[in-house]
């Protein structure tokens, strides 16, 4: 057997292990596939506010009251003043909160003890949600905010996010856990969701009503940026933190070590 063939035979096992490691690493962290264009525009239309400032609310109120009684009153009460121990009053929360909870399908909730979470679908159609938002807004309260990320400053947004939000949502905005509550991933959050959430403080999130419009715009801009950040270090590995990154490094190093061991060691037949 020639020396080169012997070397090839010697390298076969570690090469196989290395390929397996790389395959595992790529399965663990698949590259994010770009969304089809049609989906993006559709999703953006869905993510806009349910009601525009100039829309005439009056024709919506009757259907809104009927839907509220059907869908919401079992917890929030027929007069929207809440039921003690079940759900809070909706008088004064305004279109802002109604838009946030209904548009992201956090409401209606199956069980009032559950944490309201974003859902892909709702029992209400978009037209029905608009009616309920108009009805809840008719009790008074803040309007749906006007957020424009392009007016904000990315560095300011990153700074604010790091100080106020990253403790729970992670600096990459991927969410996590606090005792007795889940912290949502902001991957699907539209700028308007950010503006509404900092005002409401949904579930156990603190509220940040003291933020100026420019600060809210900046935060929304940073969250939009964090969905698809510039990976200056190279491969982003799904942005799920240092553990998978270390894992990949470890697998590559293990491959190099195996190769070294294979080269300097030798096998005896006896």
């Amino acid at each position: 057997m020639t020396a080169s063939r012997r070397l090839l035979r010697r390298l076969r096992a570690p090469a196989a292990i290395g390929c397996a490691a790389l395959a595992l690493a790529s399965v663990a962290a698949p590259a994010p596939a770009p969304a089809p264009l049609a989906d993006v525009s559709h999703a953006q239309a869905e993510r806009g506010a349910l009601l525009m400032p100039g829309t005439d609310r009056a024709p919506l109120l009757d259907e809104g009251r009927r839907l509220f009684t059907d869908t919401c009153s079992s917890c929030h009460g027929g007069d929207a003043r809440g039921i003690a121990g079940r759900a809070p009053s909706l008088r004064g929360v305004g279109e802002l909160a109604a838009d946030f909870y209904l548009r992201t399908n956090r409401m209606p909730l199956d069980d009032p003890e559950d944490q309201p979470e974003r859902h892909p679908s709702s029992v209400l159609s978009t037209q029905q949600k608009r009616a309920v938002v108009a009805y809840v807004g008719s009790f008074g309260g803040p309007p749906i905010p006007d957020v424009r990320p392009q007016r904000g400053s990315l560095p300011r947004g990153q700074r604010l996010f790091t100080e106020r939000c990253a403790g729970c949502h992670q600096v990459v905005a991927r969410g996590g856990q606090v005792p007795r509550a889940k912290v949502p991933d902001l991957e699907q959050s539209a700028p308007i969701d950010i503006a509404e959430a900092v005002d409401i403080g949904p579930y156990v999130m603190p509220r940040f009503r003291g933020l100026s419009d420019h600060e809210v715009d900046s935060l929304a801009r940073y969250v939009a940026y964090a969905k698809d950040p510039e990976d200056r270090g190279g491969w982003g590995i799904g942005h799920i933190g240092p553990i998978p990154e270390g894992m990949v490094t470890w697998l590559l190093a293990a491959f190099a070590l195996l190769l070294t061991i294979r080269i300097i060691g030798e096998r005896t037949t006896r």
Binding site: A87, G167, P179, I200, G201, V204, P206, G210, I264, T268
Partner: protein, 336 residues
């Protein structure tokens, strides 16, 4: 009568010793001593070229280790230090591999399991060890080079001990907070009562002091006055329900950066500050009492007062030990 237990003990002892003596010869190996072990394949490479390579690698290791020491003293750039120590270790490894594979005799043998402690066998082992050097010419040179590499590497490992600083003494117990020092935000602007909203939180620092100290950062929340569950004598330093805590977790020193504040308390968890590292959870209404997690102490409070201009001002140092539990300091739990 008194002799009987003694005699019994002597008998037992004699029996044990006899048994041991009788058993000893049986533990000798069955094979005849003095016969060299079979099945040894021996090959003496004695390659001068390999020796030169090993010498060069050891020399390189020495140079790199010396460079580490010199760099550490004169120009402590971490990249260069890493490069120097790394190449020293790498060269040493190359030298060892070359010596092991190309210079010393190669033997393949099947080891018989034998008993230790036989003088003749020990002599044989010594002879085997002596024969291990067969065919190596510049033996003294190799030994000297290996010794130099080993000693300089040892020096390179010891030198960083010089960086262990002076004793910290009481410095870890002294926070920069003093009575009358203003609380500022991350941009250096003073925090006012209006900046702290119910259900929100802010991070504060002592004005004009370093922010890198463990005692510097505080996390400030605001509660309804009626919510606070503290006895009257502990309510000082909480103006308008504004309550400040050390932001450093008393467990491992992470930043306590999570604030859980329920929008509708009957269906969610009660307000608490949570450390993201190990989920130590502190009840803000009870003045930072530990309610969950591995911390050994409550989160210490910083007493506040309000200046005429509405700015938040420290009213003294922390009420309790701050910082991680480096010295196992546990604090008496308040009677609840």
């Amino acid at each position: 009568m008194n002799d009987r237990p003694k005699r019994l003990r002597d008998l037992l002892l004699a029996r044990t010793v006899l048994r041991l003596l009788r058993r000893l010869p049986e533990t000798h190996p069955a094979g005849e001593p003095g016969v060299p072990p079979p099945n040894i394949e021996r090959e003496i490479p004695g390659s001068a070229r390999a020796e030169r390579v090993a010498l060069a690698a050891l020399g390189l290791a020495t140079l790199a280790a010396v460079a580490f020491v010199v760099l550490y003293v004169s120009f402590p750039d971490t990249q260069l230090l890493g490069l120097a120590l790394g190449s020293a270790l790498l060269s040493l490894a190359v030298a060892l591999v070359v010596l092991g594979k190309k210079v010393v005799p190669q033997e393949t043998t099947v080891e018989e399991r034998e008993q230790f402690g036989d003088r003749e066998r020990q002599e044989e082992v010594r002879a085997i060890v002596r024969r291990g050097g067969d065919g190596v010419s510049r033996r003294g040179m190799l030994k000297a080079a290996a010794g130099a590499a080993g000693m300089t590497l040892g020096a390179a490992a010891l030198v960083p001990a010089a960086s262990l600083g002076p004793r910290v003494g009481d410095r870890l117990r002294q926070s920069p907070w003093r009575r009358g020092r203003r609380v500022v935000d991350a941009d250096g602007a003073p925090l006012t009562v209006a900046d702290i909203e119910i259900g929100g939180f802010r991070t504060g620092f002592p004005e004009g002091a370093t922010r890198d100290e463990l005692g510097s950062p505080v996390i400030i929340v605001r509660l309804e006055e009626a919510e606070i569950e503290l006895p009257a004598e502990q309510r000082a330093g909480i103006p308008s329900g504004i309550i400040a805590f050390s932001k450093i977790c008393p467990h491992a020193g992470c930043a306590v950066s999570m604030y859980r504040h329920p929008l509708h308390e009957p269906t969610a968890a009660k307000p608490a500050l949570v450390c993201p590292c190990h989920y130590s959870t502190f009840d803000v209404r009870r003045g930072g009492e530990l309610i969950f997690g591995p911390a050994g102490r409550d989160l210490p409070r910083l007493p506040l007062t309000v200046s005429d201009a509405g700015e938040l001002v420290a009213d003294g140092g922390y009420a309790g030990t701050y910082g991680p539990s480096w010295s196992g300091v546990r604090q008496e739990r308040r009677p609840s």
